[in-house]
Every structure is written in structure tokens, then in C-alpha cells.
């Protein structure tokens, strides 16, 4: 963020003055939580600093429309994160062994799940499942094949497919 120029910072300051209260109110109605709304409103403006769109807007309405879209995306992110977190924690709780992750570890896990979910979103459910099984606890192809009712050969294909999809994204070649 060091590269933010003075003029951009001034533009943001103006935008912040004109829209922050409105945006936070809009978010609060949508999220039903004042503290979540405050966080996301902050995030929305921070993001303006790091995006080229902060050249400025043609009009007051254009700025609002942009902010609303950006904030809406952030709400969806937040809901998705909570949904993933809940699913993960619920499954953990049904596991006989007591495993209580620290808040930091939990945050890292949720971030990792979201990232991997994105990377694997274009694959079939079976390919994604095979890959996660192989990656998380090193389940052998034979066991994966049995569980998914496919051949071992197919499991190897799934793993290659999934790895390629992820590696393309990692290498910035997927768009």
C-alpha cells in the first residue's frame, strides 16, 4: 500500500466522508450485526486503496453503485466463510477424538478450505473428493477407488486433473 499516491488518498478521503456512514448502515441492515458492518465497511474502503478503480468516479451515484457492489461481494464472502466454518466445526464435533483448534489455526483452516474450494470448483464432485482424500491424510488410491466406486486408474486421473486445475491457478494461467 506504500505506492498509494497523495491524490488517490485524497480521493478516498472524500469518498469516505461522503459514503462511509451510508455504507455502514446499508451493511448493517444486510448483515444484522453492527460490528460485522463496521469491519466490512472498513474493508471496502481499504480495498479501494489497493485497486486501480480508485482513480475516482464520474459521479456521486457511480461511486455509490460501485461501493454497493463491492460491499455486496464482501457480504457473500463473509456468509460463505461462516457457512464453511460451521460445516467444518460440526463435522469435527461428530469425530470421537477431541480436537480443539486455536482461533488462529481455525482461521487458517477456513481460509485454506475457501481457497481450495475455489481451486476445485470447476471439477466434478468425485474428482474433488478423490484429490482432497489423497491430499489431507494420504489415503491410498485403492481405498479412494473403493470409496468412490471407480477404478484406481480413474483415481490417478482425478488426482492429475485436480492438480492441474490448481497448478494452473497457482501459476496464474487460469482466467
Amino acid at each position: 500500500m506504500a505506492a498509494v499516491s497523495n491524490s488517490v488518498a485524497r480521493t478516498i478521503e472524500t469518498l469516505y466522508g461522503e459514503h462511509h456512514t451510508w455504507l455502514q448502515g446499508w451493511l448493517r441492515r444486510r448483515l444484522g450485526s453492527a460490528s460485522d458492518a463496521a469491519d466490512l465497511a472498513q474493508d471496502t474502503f481499504v480495498r479501494l486503496l489497493t485497486r486501480p478503480a480508485s482513480r475516482g468516479f464520474g459521479s456521486f451515484l457511480e461511486a455509490r453503485s460501485y461501493l454497493r457492489t463491492a460491499a455486496n461481494g464482501m457480504c457473500i464472502d463473509l456468509w460463505r466463510r461462516r457457512e464453511v466454518e460451521q460445516a467444518w466445526l460440526q463435522t469435527l464435533a461428530t469425530w470421537p477424538e477431541s480436537y480443539a483448534p486455536s482461533p488462529e489455526h481455525r482461521a487458517i483452516v477456513i481460509e485454506t478450505l475457501l481457497e481450495i474450494g475455489n481451486m476445485l470448483s470447476r471439477l466434478s464432485q468425485k474428482a474433488a473428493t478423490a484429490f482432497v482424500m489423497a491430499q489431507v491424510d494420504g489415503t491410498g488410491y485403492r481405498d479412494i477407488a473403493r470409496e468412490l466406486s471407480v477404478s484406481e486408474r480413474m483415481v490417478q486421473k482425478y488426482v492429475a486433473q485436480a492438480m492441474l486445475q490448481c497448478a494452473l491457478i497457482d501459476a496464474g494461467l487460469d482466467g
Partner: protein, 342 residues
């Protein structure tokens, strides 16, 4: 296969200087993914390894592609502690969300003049490697060993390429071995809290004791040197292992194997013990402390070896072996060592 599951011979580590500056292309990534899937299964042969090495050196794009594969593989590390089921459910829910999210981002991308994935990439770059390292409380790299002193005075040694979580609470002392190997020397606890070591295959309770635990892809191995350890695996099968005994267990079964192996605590002193060990087994053990490939030709693999070898000085260990055995060591590349007949 995440980093811990990845065969050390398949890890490039710092040997990739030549690849910096190049970018992987689609074809290279496709081939790298194929290699990965092959090695992740159990059917890769020595010929496959050699073909892979040749492929790797063929073009810098290949090495670069392999680095991307390694990087993807490592991202799964934080999920391991919670186990497979939780990870599967989490990814399933995250995948579902990702679809609707992309739709929203279509509009956003147009506004920013960037693709949806460019946007996502930005959202997620904020997860630096340093965060990933937090996933385990203690972690050692290949060739690294560490001694830990725990709050109650218990001592734990982490062997090469290992990861351990330490969880001391009011009523319980609990270690969770996520990867690799530990040697534990428990201290008497004033609060009389039980001392547990957990792996994904089950739980071990120390009953006043010194013992070594090694976690591999398919089982946990336990060597007890002092006192006793009670095992309870995921399926609920129990087994008591006394001093001088060795046992192993996986999620389904537990079994005693015979006498405890002194070599399983020798590493904490920086040495590998060979007491009539086949050369191949000794070299595999030394290989755990090295990046790169060490191959042993079949005609010398079964020669038996005696002696004490340093874990952190492969050159010296190999020189010692060359003096006593009719073998020849060749190293065409820094990370490629082969041992054959003289």
C-alpha cells in the same frame, strides 16, 4: 500428497535456481500434474523416477511447473489436524459457494477490468506462507532436528521433517504428531495430568516413560524404552506396550512387533545405528535427512552394514560405507546420488 507425504526424492527444495525467471506453460503443468498423480499412487517404479528426473532437467519450464505442484500440495497442510471428514465437508461447502461467488464476480471483474480469478487471487494472496507455518506449533524441515522442553519438564525431540502440536490444559497433557517422528521423555506431573500422544490413527497414553513415535502414511509405530504406553486406536482397539517392546497400529488394528529398536532413539543424538542392517534400509534412513535422491543398485542393496553413522553429514556417512563395503558412490548432480558395486 502434501509436503510431508511427498517422497523426499521428489522435492526440489533449493535446487531450482535455474528455474527462476522462467514461467511454467500449460503443457509443462499438465505433465507435472501427471507425474504427481503417478508418484502419489503406489505404482511408480525406479524407471519412473529416473524418467521424471530427466524430464525435470529437460527444460526450466518443467522445474518451474513442478514448483507450482509442490506449492499446491503444501496448501493442504493446515487441514490435516482436523482430519479427512471435516476437510471433505469443508471443501464441499466451499466449492458450492465458489460457483455463486463467481457469478457475482463476473460483474465485478467487468468493472475492474480484471478476470474473476484475478480478483479471487487478490482476495487470497493475503495468506502468506508464514500463516501456514502456524498450523503446527513445532515443525522441523528436512535434515533438521530439535529438542523441546515442555511446561511440565517433559522433553520431546523432533526428528527430520516432522510437525507437532502441543496442547497442555488443566486436566490433560496432549501432543499431536502431525508428521514425522518424536522421542518423548515424560516428566512426573505435579497435577497428575495424563500424558497423551495422538496421531490420526489413534491415541497413546504414556505410563511414566520414554518412547518414540513415528507416523508414516499408513500407520503409527511405537518403540517403548522405559515404562509402558497404552494404545487406543481410532477403532477403539487397545494394546499395552511395555519397555523393550515395539508395536504399530493404524485406524483398524494394533500389533506387537518384537523388541524395541534402539535406533529409534539414536537419532536424538544425531546418529543412525546400523546393527546388521541391509545397505538399502540404512541409506533410506540417511535419506530422510537429505533433500534429493539417493539410489542404491540392487546388487549392493542387501549387503549388511554395522556401525554408527552421522545423520547430518551424508558425505561422511558415505565415505565410512565406502571404506568397509565394495561399493562406489557417484554424484552426477548435487541432489542425485547413486550407490553401486565397485
Amino acid at each position: 500428497m502434501s509436503a510431508e507425504h511427498l517422497d523426499p526424492a521428489l522435492r526440489l527444495g533449493d535446487h531450482l535456481v535455474s528455474a527462476s525467471g522462467t514461467n511454467a506453460d500449460f503443457a509443462s503443468l499438465e505433465q507435472a500434474a501427471e507425474w504427481y498423480a503417478l508418484f502419489r499412487g503406489a505404482r511408480a517404479t525406479e524407471q519412473d523416477h529416473q524418467a521424471w528426473q530427466t524430464w525435470l532437467r529437460e527444460r526450466p519450464e518443467h522445474a518451474k511447473a513442478w514448483l507450482h505442484i509442490e506449492s499446491v500440495s503444501k496448501r493442504f497442510d493446515p487441514l490435516r489436524a482436523g482430519g479427512r471428514e471435516a476437510a471433505l465437508v469443508g471443501v464441499r461447502v466451499a466449492r458450492k459457494g465458489a460457483v455463486s461467488r463467481r457469478r457475482v464476480l463476473g460483474g465485478m471483474g467487468a468493472m475492474f477490468g480484471v478476470g474473476a480469478l484475478g480478483w479471487l487471487a487478490w482476495r487470497h494472496t493475503a495468506m502468506p506462507d508464514i500463516l501456514l507455518a502456524w498450523a503446527a506449533d513445532h515443525r522441523t524441515g528436512v535434515g533438521e532436528r530439535r529438542e523441546l522442553q515442555l511446561a511440565d519438564g517433559s522433553r520431546v525431540w523432533l526428528n527430520t521433517d516432522s510437525a507437532l502440536d502441543v496442547d497442555y490444559q488443566d486436566g490433560i497433557r496432549r501432543l499431536r504428531l502431525l508428521a514425522g517422528e518424536i522421542l518423548v521423555d515424560t516428566a512426573r506431573d505435579l497435577a497428575r495430568r495424563p500424558f497423551y500422544v495422538d496421531t490420526r490413527f489413534g491415541r497413546m497414553q504414556a505410563l511414566g516413560t520414554r518412547f518414540a513415535v513415528r507416523l508414516t502414511d499408513d500407520q503409527t509405530r511405537l518403540d517403548v524404552f522405559d515404562g509402558a504406553v497404552a494404545i487406543r486406536n481410532v477403532a477403539g482397539v487397545t494394546l499395552r506396550v511395555e519397555a523393550g517392546q515395539q508395536a504399530h497400529f493404524d485406524a483398524d488394528a494394533t500389533a506387537l512387533d518384537g523388541a524395541a529398536d534402539r535406533a529409534r532413539e539414536a537419532w536424538s543424538r544425531g546418529v543412525v545405528l546400523a546393527d546388521n542392517l541391509p545397505l538399502k534400509v540404512l541409506v533410506d534412513e540417511l535419506g530422510r535427512y537429505q533433500r534429493g535422491h539417493i539410489g542404491v543398485a540392487p546388487e549392493v542393496a542387501d549387503m549388511t552394514v554395522m556401525g554408527v553413522y552421522p545423520v547430518d553429514d551424508l558425505d561422511r556417512a558415505l565415505a565410512m560405507l565406502t571404506r568397509t563395503l565394495p561399493i562406489r558412490v557417484q554424484r552426477p548432480l548435487p541432489w542425485w546420488t547413486t550407490i553401486g558395486a565397485r
